[in-house]
């Protein structure tokens, strides 16, 4: 597979390490009253879509960027790739 790195262009997927569903960016609020349930959902449950799937890839043998790649899990077609940092920042969350 080839991953269209937003900064480096098409790169072989072999350079990357796969983590999983991009929802892992959305770490729950640990202070919320239902934090434990929210974390259980976050850590263990997956939509596991057949179709367009937003997922995290780490360019481990490249520039060490985490990417959010949207890929069809049925055809393996890659629809888009973004820097995960940009995606995370766009959530406009303040962690402090």
């Amino acid at each position: 597979m080839l991953i269209p790195h937003p900064l480096l262009g098409l790169r072989d997927a072999q350079e990357f390490t796969y983590l999983g569903d991009a929802r892992l960016i959305d770490r729950p609020d640990p202070t919320a009253p239902d934090a434990e349930a929210a974390f259980c959902d976050y850590v263990f449950l997956r939509d596991n879509q057949a179709g367009a799937h937003r997922e995290l890839w780490f360019h481990e043998q490249g520039d060490r960027s985490w990417l959010v790649v949207t890929r069809d899990t049925v055809t393996h077609e890659v629809l888009c790739a973004e820097l995960a940092r940009d995606v995370a920042l766009s959530r406009a969350r303040c962690s402090k």
Binding site: L7, G9, L10, Q14, E15, Q61, G62, D63, S65, L83
Partner: protein
């Protein structure tokens, strides 16, 4: 100065050198390295007069050079300054940036084709890079025989591979084997 004597990444006093047909492999033990990262709110510096390159690129200017290693990150090279505290120098000229000493983290192997050919044939056996888009000034990090390396196209007939210092011997072996096989093919 210390009275301790350093050894090269390949474990000897003199840097490694080998020649196969038109290709020379040379360990560049004098290369000083430091990484530079922008901190939040800092402006991109121009250390030693270098305009820091875009992703995938390498620039050189008067004995120093820089390659982009990631978003807001660069590796700065300084030829022949491994024995100096180069990261301290870099800190001076890159105020407000995070600088990390890297000189001893790497082995740098310079590959030069004396006849002007064979360099791309060699690289095509080692790294999955589209060489048509990797002319002089190209630089990238990729896998090479299970090692993570920077590959820099310093010129038409000159490339460098930077690999982890600890696996310098394995990297040398990989380059040497590939170069040797090219030589045999020509012969």
């Amino acid at each position: 100065m210390t009275d301790l004597r350093p050894i090269t990444a390949l474990g000897t006093v003199t840097p490694g050198y080998a020649s196969f047909g038109a290709l020379d492999l040379r360990e560049n033990a004098g290369l000083a390295l430091a990484s530079l990262a922008l901190r939040r709110g800092t402006l991109e510096p121009t250390p030693f007069g270098l305009t820091l390159p875009e992703p995938g690129r390498w620039v050189a200017w008067q004995g120093v050079a820089a390659l982009c290693t990631g978003p807001d990150q660069w590796m700065i090279e300084a030829e022949g300054r491994a024995e100096l505290d180069f990261s301290a120098e870099l800190k001076q000229v890159a105020p407000g940036c995070s600088v990390t000493e890297q000189t001893d983290g790497w082995v740098a192997i310079e590959i030069v084709s004396r006849a002007g050919t064979g360099l791309e044939a060699l690289l095509s056996k080692l790294v999955n890079i589209d060489l048509a888009n990797f002319g002089p000034g190209g630089a990238t990090r990729t896998g090479l025989e299970h090692m993570s390396c920077f590959v820099i196209r310093r010129g038409d007939v000159h490339a460098a591979v930077l690999g982890a210092r600890s696996s310098a011997g394995s990297l040398w072996h990989a380059l040497e084997t590939a170069a040797k096989r090219l030589e045999e093919k020509v012969a």
